[in-house]
Amino acid sequence: MRHLRQLEDQSVYIFREAYKHFDNLGMLWSMGKDSTVLLWLARKAFFGHVPFPLLHVDTSYKIPSMIEYRDRLAREWRLNLVVGQNKQALAEGMNHERGRVECCTALKTNGLKLLLEEKGYTGIILGVRADEESTRAKERYFSPRDKNNDWDFRDQPPELWDQFKTSFPPNTHIRIHPLLDWTEINIWEYIKLENIPFMDLYLNRGDGTRYRSLGCAPCTFPIKSTASTVDEIIEELRATKVAERAGRAQDEGRGMELLRKDGYM
């Protein structure tokens, strides 16, 4: 439990630095377990309030119960929810059958780009974790993106003693990662510790499967699992040697490296 409080203290510190330094701040919320823990930590940092909008880049292909859950929490926790969508790409019929990386780029990366352009956010808070996949292991807590949203992972700013990169040239923005040090197990341990509401898609509901990672319906697949409680998920994760995002199709090959270099979450 002490390790969870240490993680919480660091995340809260990052949140408060972000809020202090960025006038136009937004937080991405995908309704998954990570970004919901992120949302909970924001309420910790700001004593029950969430003083910036929550952004959801809607691909239109999400599992329907994710949208219901989104709207319910937004109402109950009085969240300022901003939904963005790449309507043009959808109108032109973009879907995963045209290529998963192409689809993710159009609907998520470019959907996010459009939302950033429209609202002019200079700081975006995201729930990426270093242990999810290799490119995220190289991230900084405060990670600059240039005017094309590109990430220069070879020349990242130094990050010393919690002194983060909070000043930046015009037309660029900063991605802020309060969950960077958390692991998948930490997320579930914390959900249990704080009793955070989460979607039951993560649990086995009798058919011997559950979702370990949530995304768009056509590109996210459940895993075989008997875990029907948080405790059982934690137990399962401690024993597994299968990667968390194994059920996420866009990760195959160099998918994530290409996507993230161009501004994917």
């Binding site: 203290d9 408060r16 202090k20 910790k44 130094p158 299968v242 995002r245």
Partner: protein, 619 residues
């Protein structure tokens, strides 16, 4: 892509977590050591080793454990780790976060970013190559970054036939070097990451080694912070007013904080009692907190304090000065230049500064102290002994006493470009007056009316407007104009002419007692400011240069805001960096209004009386 998960053998409850950085010269085997640690602790995802082995076979290369971690294609092309990467494993009830820092000289920035987060370090030395310049440089930086728990791994022992003599020579040489830096490695271990000797299991080839394996040495490091046992340092991060509560937030750097504690804010010298500790989803609410925790507190009175101040108890106060001496490492693309303006960030305090002196560039090879050099720049990747002078006083500590409040970074343009540890406080000219002001403020007795009450009542914050510049430029005339304009609006304003002190309070003083004259003036101004008044004053009667006058007064009325207005007949540069400047015969009505506008912009004057000035509750 793959992640690292622990196997069932380690599936016990995690007690704590620890950040470990692995540093060493290029090719001394860091990635191999990591690959070996993960493989031998059963951490790797299923099929990972087989997958990499298959790729190696396909490309006709010999399998190496290092390949397991060089995940980026780019890296594999170059054969070096590019950036700090974090991986995780669990062992014996502890979660380890391994920060892999690259060894290439040009990537020092990333090594420092990695090491700055670490609680312990594994420092690798190649047994075949011995102690290299880079090994020394890394030792120097670890000591500057405050990593005190160090295991030195003498790697590639298989290449020197597991020779006890070779190991002993390297150990002796490196220990001698580190001792100059006050670093004592807890363990020096002969190992071969490639062959698995003394990594997770003891080596049959080196039975003469009676110390722990690398993994055992990690388990012996403490993640318990000793900082809770030190005096309180709580750098103020922000002030929130989302609801009825006015919450001061921050992360406790050292010591403990309890409800009911009388605390002091430095450098403003304000004081208050901690009324509550605030927390979300915690029942019952906490009554105390300690080092490491991000907290929120409320106070028994609404004092004006802001981000950057350091909260402490009165029995152990931080130092306060504009000037300090430090050891600094520079990572910027452009060299650090003496005299140029930078931003210093110390805990949560940010203030403009310049490098007043570069005493010497530290040579990592021999740490020589005797070479006298004259430098005006510090180049990228160099370490230097410098004096930093900030534009406003800041609270800090010596690094040997307090980690968090004893170190700082410098920002050049948009980038954090260097970091340093404070070795000495340098007393500036105002040191005596500052000490007087601190002692006087701590003992100050107040009534029930707060500064905030007065600010609301008068529609302005207590402040001082100083008119500076040559004689006969109309300063007194302007002061009268501002005074009458504001009083007509119903504000509480007073023109304090220094001349008025001469025959009375200063009757015992001579012409040469200039410093004492100004001290008395400053104390009178401080008293009047405590009544909530907006003071306007000229400065000619002081027999001292204008910059000294302004700094001395500023120090004594601190932290009340001071607005400086420079008046001259011709266009001449002000000896003080003035907030406003006027030249030649002026239309005094419009000049007076320009001052009023500046007071509003600075949040000193509220738009209308009865309004709270924006500064006070701008949160």
């Amino acid at each position: 892509m793959d992640t690292c998960k622990t196997d069932t053998a380690a599936a016990v409850d995690i007690r704590d977590r620890m950040n470990i950085v692995i540093v060493g010269s290029v090719d001394h085997g860091k990635s191999t050591l990591l690959g070996r640690l993960y493989a031998d602790t059963g951490t790797l995802p299923e099929g990972k080793i087989e997958k990499i082995q298959a790729i190696c076979k396909q490309q006709g290369k010999e399998f190496e454990y290092a390949f397991l971690f060089d995940a980026f294609l780019e890296e594999q092309q170059q054969g070096v780790t590019i950036d700090t990467a974090r991986t995780f494993f669990q062992w014996a009830g502890r979660q380890y976060i391994i920060i892999d820092a690259p060894g290439h000289k040009e990537f020092l920035k990333n090594m420092i970013s990695g090491a700055a987060r670490a609680e312990a370090a594994l420092l690798l030395i190649d047994a075949l190559e011995g102690v290299k310049d880079q090994s020394k440089r890394h030792g120097l930086l670890l000591s500057m970054l405050g990593v005190k728990q160090v295991t030195v791994v003498v790697n590639k022992m298989d290449l020197v036939d597991y020779s006890r003599e070779t190991f002993a020579l390297i150990e002796k040489e490196y220990r001698a070097f580190l001792s100059q830096l006050d670093v004592t490695p807890q363990f020096v271990i002969p190992a071969s990451a490639k062959r698995g000797d003394n990594i997770a299991a003891p080596s049959p080839h080196m039975a003469w080694h009676d110390g722990p394996t690398v993994l055992e040495s990690l388990a012996q490091f403490s993640s318990e912070s000793e900082q809770a046992e030190q005096p309180l340092r709580f750098p103020l991060q922000d002030v929130y007013k989302f609801d009825a509560r006015r919450i001061l937030t921050g992360r406790i750097a050292s010591g403990r904080l309890k409800v009911g504690d009388q605390v002091i804010f430095s450098p403003s010298n304000k004081s208050a009692v901690v009324q509550t500790l605030e927390a979300f989803n915690v029942d019952p609410p906490p009554t105390q907190a300690q080092a490491g925790q991000s907290v929120g507190i409320t106070l028994d009175e609404q004092i004006f304090v802001e981000r950057g101040e350091i909260v402490s108890h009165e029995r152990s106060l931080p130092l306060v000065s504009t000037t300090f001496r430090a050891n600094l490492f520079w990572l910027g693309r452009r060299p650090l230049e003496m005299g140029k303006s930078y931003l210093v960030r110390l805990a949560t305090h940010e203030v403009e500064c310049r490098v007043a002196a570069i005493h010497r560039i530290v040579d990592a090879d021999n740490l020589s102290l005797d070479q006298q050099q004259t430098n005006t720049v510090v180049k990228r990747n160099e370490v230097a002994d410098v004096t930093i002078q900030a534009k406003a006083p800041l609270a800090f500590d010596l690094y040997t006493d307090f980690e968090t409040t004893g170190r700082f970074v410098l920002v050049d343009d948009y980038d954090v470009s260097g970091g340093g540890i404070i070795t000495e406080m340098v007393a500036d000219r105002e040191e005596t007056l500052r000490t007087e002001a601190r002692q006087r403020d701590f003992a100050w007795v107040t009534g029930d009316v707060t500064l905030a009450d007065r600010a609301k009542h008068y529609g302005h914050r207590a402040a001082l407007v100083l008119l500076i510049g040559p004689d006969t430029t109309g300063k007194t005339f302007l002061a009268k104009k501002v005074e009458s304009t504001l009083v007509a609006e119903g504000r509480h304003v007073y023109m304090l002419d220094p001349e008025n002190l001469r025959r009375g309070l200063d009757a015992d003083l001579q012409e040469e007692d200039a410093r004492e004259t100004i001290r008395r003036y400053g104390e009178v101004a401080r008293l009047l400011i405590d009544t909530g008044v907006l003071l306007i004053s000229t400065t000619n009667s002081f027999n001292l240069p204008a910059d000294q006058v302004v700094e001395a007064i500023r120090t004594l009325v601190h932290p009340a805001p001071v607005l400086t207005v420079y008046m001259s007949k011709e266009t001449t540069a002000s000896p003080v960096e003035a907030d406003l400047a006027f030249t030649g015969p002026e239309d005094f009505t419009s000049t007076a209004h320009a001052i009023l506008t500046a007071l509003k912009e600075k949040g000193i004057l509220a738009e209308t009386i009865g309004n709270q000035p924006v500064f006070q509750f701008s949160i």
